[in-house]
Symmetry: C2
Subunit: 209 residues, 2 copies
């Protein structure tokens, strides 16, 4: 068996979406949702961007909402994995928090079109799908909160309000998806570095890079 068969799912942007036509439709939907928002996007527009007829969409997805759900699910999974990888890495609490913020922000900047859909079209989802996604977000929250708590316990941080600071840190990172590339001229790496520094200041880390 050729090695390309199983590995191709990981490196190209939406490789985990398996029928090729389904992937093209999903990518088209991400673009359209990010540009105009979920409700302002028509199924005809999505199918058109993917080079297909309007009816083709319903061969691969049951409803327009299912498309949004798939995008939201995969996007949140990836963002959470990025966060956790840095959080579980080596180094002091400050180093891990800076790393986590840096890569989380970089992800939101790099994939700002996906991130915008994932973070800002949440209540277009149906009841069940929305609660599923909210559970994923709580895991992101817990990941950041744990890092901050560890830093406080180790004496590295000075944080009077841990839940509030956690909320603010995540809010700051997530909002990158809204303004990125609308303002222009900053690379994802630069924003990541800036935000890592700002967050270290917010938690009162003693030494700064």
């Amino acid at each position: 068996m050729s090695t390309a068969e199983k590995t191709e799912g990981e490196d190209l942007p939406w490789g985990e979406v398996t029928p090729d036509a389904a992937r093209r439709l999903l990518i088209a939907a991400v673009e359209a949702f990010a540009e105009r928002g979920y409700h302002a996007t028509t199924t005809r527009d999505i199918a058109g961007r993917a080079g297909m007829s309007p009816a083709a969409l319903y061969i691969h997805y049951k409803t327009k909402e299912e498309l949004l759900h798939r995008i939201s699910r995969i996007g949140h999974d990836k963002a959470l994995r990025v966060l956790r990888t840095a959080a579980n890495g080596p180094g002091s609490a400050a180093e891990r928090l800076a790393d986590a913020v840096r890569s989380f922000v970089r992800w939101h900047a790099d994939h700002h079109t996906t991130a915008r859909v994932v973070q800002y079209e949440l209540d277009a989802l149906g009841e069940e799908h929305r609660t599923e996604i909210i559970a994923l977000r709580r895991q992101s929250d817990a990941t950041v909160r744990d890092m901050i708590n560890e830093g406080v316990r180790a004496g590295e941080f000075d944080v009077p309000d841990v839940p509030g600071t956690t909320l603010a840190v995540l809010s700051l990172c997530i909002d990158v998806a809204r303004w990125f590339n609308v303002a222009g001229q900053r690379t994802p790496d630069e924003v990541g570095a800036l935000y890592a520094d700002l967050v270290l200041r917010m938690v009162g880390a003693r030494q700064r890079g």
Copy 2:
């Protein structure tokens, strides 16, 4: 002439919208837009919430987009005024910045339903209206940047990247409109105080309150 005639425009929430029916429609629109988003809201829904027939909307507003524009315009004006009042107040740069963040955040929390429409439905506006609103946002940006610059010049702050930090501070404040009251249990005053402290940390203010 009775004194109530001119003063009533200032204290009640949308007092500047003068025909009474027009105000009721606008308030209904704010609620609906905040709950479901602009595109997912129907003119019938807005009129229904205001206790009127669908056609009544078009006596007071030419289009649904004009309603959004009026909301956006008034909301941005008010938020900018709140920011500037604190920025032009007395005290050191640190005190004024903290004050500005505190009141700006409090406004976004208090009027989170209005703020959500104002901050997150921007690209539902038409071309001309959108550029008009963006000009107002640039003034908010300039107000914050000036305060930070003054603090740096006075030796109160330590900020390596002033434009980037300005962006982050505003992003942090604005995003309050997204999560407030979805999370619950924090009062606008508490969030304002927390955020003022966090922002002082971000700019490296030497003394903290």
